[in-house]
Amino acid sequence: MTSLTNSIGREGPAPALSAAGGDVPDYFALLKPRVMVLVIFTALVGMVVSQGHVQPMIGAISLLAIAVGAGASGCLNMWWDADIDAVMSRTATRPIPSGRITSEEALGFGLFLSVASVVVLGLAANVLAAALLAFTIVFYAVVYSMWLKRATAQNIVIGGAAGALPPVIGQAVVTGSVGIESLILFAIIFIWTPPHFWALALIKADDYARAGIPMMPNVAGPASTRRQIVWYSLLLAPLGLAPVALGFGGLLYAVIGVVGGLGMVAFSIRVLRNREGEAERRAAMGMFGFSILYLSALFSALLAEQSFGLFRPVLG
């Protein structure tokens, strides 16, 4: 079997992997599967806390479309950020910087999946849900990746809106509108994002400096970043209890919200106090890991309460 290459009149060995295309898992990796799982999960919670009903198959197809849309925006992010990814240890092995997939392939893949996911969601659910998904993709790929990320230390603060939107899309699928429930979930993820990412940025500051990304520790300094992590955690702890106050978070959620919120504050203070060496790294990674556990536990509690009859009202 032969292949027509683009090497007109050039001799030498066949070009490396990129000219022959990557393997299937490489394309899957472009979609940032771990982020997709988080998006499916948060969108599902947005659906179950909504006051409404959706046909199960429509709900499943909608979740698939939301997940693929999120994956497509991740793919476009990797296409745009390939130069940055290549110089950062955490991302250097991604498919584009490692040469397994070309930028053009990633761009085409991402654009196709973006359009396809929005169209499917529009047909399966409604125009509002599709429009919100399109907005999320554009916000992440264009506003965050192409503009904010390299322009301001507030990049992940503002860009965090894209990661916070899936519950809102989920509620739009079920009700055709946006309600207070999903807006509260949006706010929780939005405020959770900075302390989560800055904890990682504290110990990856050299990586970001090498790539020229103005992350908060590189711009405002580690001390200021640590203080901001504490402030955001202090804001997040009570905000995490808003679903209880609004009546869609029950006793289980309240317990997890209180314990988790106190945990976030405690871990943030640990980050503030441990400023050097191995203790600094352990504190930052502890904060990063616990923040994932906290958000997962909050949303799992909502899912369990609404889906498995575990809801016990706290107020009234």
Binding site: M1, S3, I8, G9, V24, Y27, M57
Partner: protein, 54 residues
């Protein structure tokens, strides 16, 4: 102006295997795409498809 020489290069067995896997994945994805629209159509239309005026 002479036509540039176009070289055809054989793919390595590894490259061929990857291309074959990609082709299978694309075929499966297209099949899933068709199935998705079929299911979506049936679900959206529902039982009313049987009660439309002839």
């Amino acid at each position: 102006m002479p036509e540039p020489e176009i070289q055809y290069r054989p793919l390595t067995p590894e490259q061929e295997a990857r291309r074959r896997k990609r082709s299978i994945a694309i075929a499966l994805a297209l099949g899933a795409w068709v199935l998705l629209f079929f299911v979506l159509t049936i679900v959206k239309l529902g039982p009313q498809i049987l009660s439309r005026p002839l």
